[in-house]
Amino acid sequence: MPVKNNLNAPHALLSGDEALAQGAYEAGVKVAASYPGTPATEILEYMSKFDEVDCQWSVNEKVAYEVAYSSAVAGVRAIFSAKHVGLNVAMDSIMTSAYTGINAGFVVVTCDEPGLHSSQNEQDNRLLAKMAKLPLIEPSSPSEAKEFVKKAFEISEKFDTPVILRLTTRIAHTKENVLVEKRQEQAKKHYRPCFEKYVMVPKNAGARHAELEKRLARLKKYSGSSSLNAVEMGDKKIGFITSGVSYLYAKEMYPGASFLKLGMSYPFPEEKVRDFVKKVKTVYVIEELEPFIEEQCKIAGIKIKTKDESFRVGELRPEHIPLIVAGDKKKHTEKLSRKPVLCPGCSHRPVFWVLNKLKLNVAGDIGCYTLGASAPLSALHTCLCMGSGDTILEGFTKVLGRNVVGVMGDSTFVHSGITGLINLAYNKTNTVLIILDNSTTGMTGSQPHPATGITIKGERTKKLVLEDICRAAGADNVDVIDPFKIKELEFLIKKRTGEDKLSVIISRYPCRLVERRKSSAPLFLMDKCKKCGLCLKLDCPSIKKEDDGSVSIDAVTCVGCNLCVDVCPFGAILKND
């Protein structure tokens, strides 16, 4: 989308996430629901500054999806946004919502992460659109995200269907000049109960499935004629069929070539593609991850050149395009990245220190605390998906016995850990779950959640009391402890793992990035240091190893948690108050 160089218009430098939220706002969206997840988080964060939009961090993505979906059914424009794996959590509702359709416009935003900068997998959610039989919109840039989300609302209402809009990290987290415009309010649509449309019992659902197939056929016609799928004729010797940010990479490297840019890549605009391929001598499909466009071309018997399979893994870069054109494999030029570590003073560190010391098997989960998995702490041994800390704990306890604990963050526990705890209790499993309660969703940039008692708009609300819900779920013991009391923490974990009871230990201390508590850095006494290296095993970024084997403490970054004071066996680190 060309940027209009009109300096009088109010341009802002917005990210793809922000521009998308701005576009939805301008399209009159009334309800927005999400659960944090990189790179989708900023969509709802940006939206929350608008008073006209009812915004919420939901408990998890399934809940968010249903809240937004039902708002659309009841008559107002609504938007759901999540990272790619968030759609897995919502998938049950997504699949059947394709049958019921909506009423007012409903846009489902997925932010995929090729290259998994901050994710546990790099699934390509274009395949989910096909599986759910929902139309798929793919902008290439922030300004397109703003325009296309408006189109998505129109398509949603015209065809009575949820519409999936897909960003990837390089769109979501790229900023560019975006034109900021006024909001257009939408009249509330009338809601009328309709047994055949909204109650998906087998008979109705069967009829709606037939309806869905008809809708798809109409959508296919639409995508064939829509301006979202645009031909840019250039050099007729070489052409590209592409979508999303891949379009920009190809355009960068071959600005004079011909392009068929798919802004609506599903249903597949078969005739338009066939026509383009007829006019251009050699046509390449350029796409990140899965061969989504490629397969649809092949099914239609359209002759195209495709990328080597090595490009199915990881992000595409502009440099890759000439390699694909040459039929080459991907070259590996990955640079060594610095290993991220827990922050100085992070309340997760003392827990992993103790778990490492006790040599326990630790079922883990996803959050900042997953950083406890890498050496030297090495005290978290699984990370699969959110909510799996206590369910993997169950399998491990069954098979490995009692030298097992599970750890989950507070936001993760609320997202999808509560059911796992109920399952442990119901199925008579005695084991120990540790909730690492730093009272925020740390990993994704400190969002509130039900156990913080604060909403996205910063208002106070009913606070979920973790102790109460753990007891109600069936835990026999619920202990709350300050993890910086490491001797007591060690004693407690030993005691609870030795009992035949279902125990929850809540390790509670606020995240340092939220409450910037800071005390003086401890003093290091060189003459007492025996160079044993034990303090370095804390993996604290403020403790640095010196060339002579001793250490130094960086007083600028140290927050004075004094964990190293407690860990040093020789009294070489002294509290400084």
Partner: protein, 160 residues
């Protein structure tokens, strides 16, 4: 490749202000009437991991990512990250590492390293001073504005 686009790569580690520096640069380019793109990966920025941000601006920018071997300016906040990223520079590209050295001697507060480096970068770019100042005001939303502008000008007048 579409040239007449200026390609800048900012690199460092979490907490150094790399992303803010890139943002100032992109906003300044936008304020001077150009199309700017800035991309970054910041998932682990606050956890001490490597941080890089690409800024490209010109009449019309396509790829948000810079291309290896074609970067015009490397703005490093950390020595080892600078070594790693040097391959990204074009043959005529300029590495601003010398300004990082100078900052280590002259800058009282590392907190302002990013505005200092932006000042140094601004010496080489065809963007008017007023747009830089406006951009600093926009990005810091009025926080430490005077101090940031002072340090920016210090970087801008530093000669190597």
């Amino acid at each position: 490749m579409t040239k007449k686009i200026t390609d800048i790569l900012f690199c460092g580690t979490g907490g150094q202000g790399v992303l803010k520096a890139a943002e100032i640069c992109a906003v300044a380019a936008m304020k001077s009437g150009l199309h700017a793109k800035k991309t970054e990966v910041h998932g682990m920025a606050q956890r001490g991991g490597s941080v890089e941000s690409h800024v490209r601006y010109g009449k019309r920018v396509f790829s948000p990512l810079t291309i290896t071997g074609h970067v015009d300016f490397l703005v490093p906040f950390d020595r080892s990250e600078a070594d790693k990223m040097a391959v990204e520079l074009s043959k005529t590209g300029i590495n601003l590492i010398k300004y990082l050295d100078i900052s280590e001697k002259t800058l009282e507060n590392r907190f302002f390293l990013n505005t200092f480096m932006v000042g140094a970068l601004s010496r080489y770019l065809d963007i008017a001073e007023e747009h830089w100042i406006e951009a600093i005001k926009t990005v810091f939303k009025g926080k430490h504005t005077d101090e940031n502008i002072r340090i920016f000008l210090e970087g801008r007048s530093t000669r190597i």
